[in-house]
């Protein structure tokens, strides 16, 4: 039993990342009807927002400290961080430690702007072209973004640690009456799960309970009629693209401490999140979220030693296998709507 709980917990953080990316992909597909292969790149850009923020916050300059000398007897030069100049030693250190959460504030406007630029600059011109063209052009964009990141940040993963307050693990088993140290779960992963649950809830609440969201949902159901009612639906859809980009970006920011960001993480996640979207059902938001968590948890179950002994290699292929089975038995995915990408 404790093994099962461990696997469910392990699946949650990866599942949350899948769910967030898939949610953004589905928003874009549901509103604009565009298959966005560059969504993994947006996730990666989010992760690099965290990298950039932590670099900016730890910018330093050298100050000559007359009270200390180095081994040659000259006055020693000490690296001084600008944030510590501004906010004092302790507060400055705290700000640097909390770079990743602070990056959220930085990432939201950046990612929304990136989303606007992408939609207005490129994707707008592809609404009337076939889906294959949309896939190809966004695939090209994903390659270009990946290469740009590689040019500026190098090919190696960049470690971006979580705040020291969240290092270490939570002894989860104790809550359930197990002995100490049976079920350990890193704090940051727990936070990642709650964070993504909040974001998902916020997106759904936004769509469900605001007028803006209502209009967007109406536009998803019947774009033309909404347009005829005198609503500038295109503008709202552009905003939704920005929102989807921000969701992917936030997923990336918070994921940076779990997996050190590098330029190919976007493409790695893209393939899996597409599988997630298709399993959940093209155009269905709850489907995308459910499939994200489902596949994340299934993946971690399949990596249990028992399963790997039983069916060697199952941990590598489980997601694809599930996708194939679901697509063949339930062509619309788990919760797909009728009439979406049927042909």
């Amino acid at each position: 039993m404790d093994q099962i709980i461990v696997q469910i917990l392990n699946g949650l953080d990866k599942g949350s990342a899948y769910a967030l990316i898939a949610l953004g992909l589905t928003i874009i597909f549901g509103t604009l009807g565009v298959v966005n292969f560059a969504h993994g790149a947006l996730f990666m850009m989010g992760a690099f927002c965290a990298v950039v923020t932590s670099k900016i916050l730890s910018a330093s300059h050298k100050v000559v400290d007359p009270t200390r000398t180095d081994f040659l007897g000259n006055p020693m030069q000490v690296d001084t961080f600008y944030v510590q100049d501004f906010f004092g030693m302790a507060a400055g250190q705290a700000i640097m430690d909390w770079a990743v959460p602070i990056a959220i504030l930085f990432a939201i406007p950046v990612m929304i702007l990136v989303g606007f630029a992408m939609e207005r600059g490129l994707i707008k011109h592809f609404y009337k072209r076939p889906h294959a063209d949309q896939i190809l052009v966004t695939f090209g964009l994903a390659l270009v973004i990946g290469e740009l990141i590689k040019y500026f940040f190098g090919a190696n993963p960049i470690q971006t640690p979580a705040p020291p307050a969240f290092t270490g693990s939570l002894d989860f088993g104790v809550f359930l009456g197990y002995e100490a140290n049976t079920i350990m779960y890193p704090y940051w992963r727990l936070i990642y799960f709650f964070f993504s649950a909040i974001i998902i809830a916020a997106v759904f609440a936004f769509l469900q309970f605001t007028t803006f969201g209502m209009v967007v949902r109406a536009g998803m159901a019947d774009r033309e009629t909404v347009g005829l009612l005198g609503i500038d639906i295109d503008k709202r859809f552009t905003f939704m693209f920005g929102l989807a980009a921000a969701v992917a970006g936030l997923a990336g920011v918070m994921y940076a401490p779990i997996v050190a960001p590098n330029y190919s993480m976007g493409l790695d996640f893209l393939v899996l999140s597409f599988v997630v979207v298709v399993v959940g059902g093209m155009g269905s938001l709850p489907g995308a979220v459910a499939a994200g968590f489902l596949l994340g948890i299934l993946e971690s179950f399949a990596s249990m030693p028992v399963m790997v002994d039983l069916l060697p290699g199952i941990n590598q292929i489980i997601i694809y296998l599930v996708a194939i089975v679901i697509l063949l038995t339930r062509p619309r995915g788990l919760m797909g709507r009728k009439g979406v990408m049927e042909d």
């Binding site: 896939i135 390659l143 990946g146 298709v278 194939i324």
Partner: protein
């Protein structure tokens, strides 16, 4: 000629000429000159041009004609490669049986994958093929290690003793064609130029020409017409009483066999295989090649394959020193600015150039380089025609 129209025969002859004379054409710069690094006429790269040309021609038969975008074609190439290397390890070091086996196995595998994937279309089809390819990759990498050699892949070792090998104990077998080794070449020195005529290259050339000829025949056949019908309107095809699936599945298998042929040839030229050959980025590469050259055209995929492989092997070698050498004639400040501006796009940054070019082609030239060429030719012709008309309409004085 060979059942082709006059225009197609000319095309085939041109391609034949280009392929046969490639060692000359691709080596325009003398040895030791500053431009010599742009010579693509060395066997290794020329073989790649042909092999990826075959791969792209096959992909184009599926994507260009039926519009089904497969994101997992590299799996067939990989399966073909594994089949070929096992034939060489166990049966004979002659490449022909290996290549034939590669085609057969890749065909069988693509029949299986196609039968399942073609039940859906559009993005679902792309995802299904991608899923199959990633599964093959993951399995080849881990569980199937006894067959695939896992991460290290397979090579011909000195312990291998093929059935018809006649090797001395401890001798490492080499791929050959009835005793002629694949890497044997004839070198021709003319002045400062060195031309290499490599046996492996010409074997690949023969296969490529056959593949190209078959692709012309398929394009012009009633079968090819049906495939185009699948792309333009499947529903109408259904109403007419035809079964689209039969045609798409045939196209899928044919294109899988092309990929198998490419994989077999790869092993024949360089006797080793690794699972990374099946990774989805490899599938993405053939998509890029085909689109860049021009999907649905005869020459497009070949051009695209050549273009990408040239970028990968030649442009990627340009480094900062070489750039400084090129722009040395400029004033120092300007030189540095230019070098800094160009540098991200060459050398290790060639992927960036490729990505940008690919995007530009998809956005502005959906027909690829071939369409670009046609448009230029048209513009040129129209100008001429317009001139002629102007001249004619002007009253004589």
């Amino acid at each position: 000629m060979l059942g082709l129209t006059k225009k197609d025969s000319t095309l085939l002859l041109v391609v034949f000429g280009l392929v046969m004379l490639a060692p000359f054409i691709l080596n325009p710069f003398p040895e030791g000159s500053a431009m010599a690094q742009f010579n693509a006429g060395y066997p290794d790269l020329m073989q790649r041009f042909l092999i990826f040309g075959i791969f792209a021609i096959g992909f184009n038969l599926l994507f260009g004609l039926t519009g089904y975008l497969s994101f997992g074609h590299a799996a067939f190439l990989g399966v073909g490669s594994y089949a070929a290397i096992w034939s060489m390890k166990l049966v004979t070091l002659n490449v022909i049986p290996g290549i034939l086996l590669a085609i057969a196995i890749a065909g069988a595998f693509s029949l299986l994958v196609g039968f399942v994937s073609l039940r859906r279309s559009g993005i679902y089809f792309s995802i299904l093929t991608l899923a199959f390819a990633q599964m093959s990759y993951a399995l080849a990498y881990s569980v199937l290690t006894p067959i695939t050699g896992g991460e290290t892949g397979l090579q011909i070792k000195n312990t291998d003793n093929p059935l018809f090998g006649a090797l001395n104990p401890g001798e490492i077998g080499r791929a050959n064609l009835f005793g002629l080794e694949m890497n044997s070449s004839f070198e021709l020195n003319v002045g400062n130029w060195l031309f290499t005529f490599n046996l492996g290259y010409y074997i690949a050339a023969v296969f490529m020409l056959i593949a190209f000829y078959m692709s012309i025949r398929i394009f012009r056949s009633p079968f090819g017409m049906m495939l185009r019908a699948v792309k333009s309107n499947q529903q109408r095809m259904n109403y007419t009483g035809l079964t689209p699936k039969r045609y798409t599945l045939s196209a899928f298998v044919i294109s899988g066999m092309y990929a198998g042929l490419a994989g077999g040839l790869m092993v024949a030229m360089d006797t080793q295989v690794g699972p990374e050959r099946m990774f989805w980025t490899a599938s993405g590469e053939v998509v890029i090649m085909t689109i860049l050259g021009g999907a649905g055209t005869l020459m497009g995929p070949v051009l695209g394959a050549g273009f990408i492989k040239y970028l990968e092997n030649i442009v990627s070698k340009i480094n900062k020193d070489i750039l400084h050498e090129w722009f040395a004639f400029l004033p120092d400040g300007l030189e540095d600015v230019l070098v800094t501006m160009v540098y991200p796009f060459v050398g290790k940054g060639w992927h960036l150039t490729m990505g940008i070019l690919f995007m530009l082609v998809v956005i502005f030239l959906p027909g690829g380089l071939v369409e670009g060429g046609q448009r230029m030719a048209k513009l040129f012709r129209r100008n001429k025609a317009a001139d002629a008309q102007d001249a004619a309409s002007k009253p004589a004085e």
